[in-house]
Symmetry: C2
Subunit: 93 residues, 2 copies
């Protein structure tokens, strides 16, 4: 019963991070779909801020021992690759 | 034994937040001690960024149920009051 609670915490820790990462994925998707619109410099600022915020959550979860460092790196890495795709799309526009 | 583990997590969640808040307190102290030096605009940027990062950690801990919302508000509130003191010192310089 109590052991389940720790497992629940680990699952919730990961689920929350994935939900926050998904929000950033959606922000990037919106920006990709609007590539024909004038580029808004504030958008990049918003993405950077959100990425920083998520990275602090990930680090915190790792320090708490609720998620593996490797999983944290994967979450941030997948977002960084998506952001790189967005930048490439802009450069090829 | 396992129940202790959840309690340990709660204690660690709070200890990590307090350690991070202390780092920001020290940043503010350094800035207060150097009031006679030319004001560095980047310093305010650094403090804002660190405050934002900590607020995300606090929110995350609250969402995980590891700390009470009220405790989180107190941690952020004490830092905001300290920052307000710093601004007042600058204005009265």
């Amino acid at each position: 019963m109590t052991e389940l609670k720790v497992i629940d915490l680990e699952q919730k820790a990961l689920a929350l991070l994935q939900a926050d990462a998904d929000k950033i994925f959606k922000l990037i998707d919106v920006q990709m779909e609007n590539l024909t619109m004038p580029q808004c410099p504030l958008y990049e600022e918003v993405l950077d801020t959100q990425m920083f915020g998520l990275s602090r959550e990930v680090e915190y979860a790792v320090r708490l021992g609720l998620i593996e460092e490797e999983i944290g790196r994967e979450i941030m890495g997948s977002l960084e690759r998506k952001l790189a795709d967005l930048h490439e799309m802009f450069n090829n526009k």
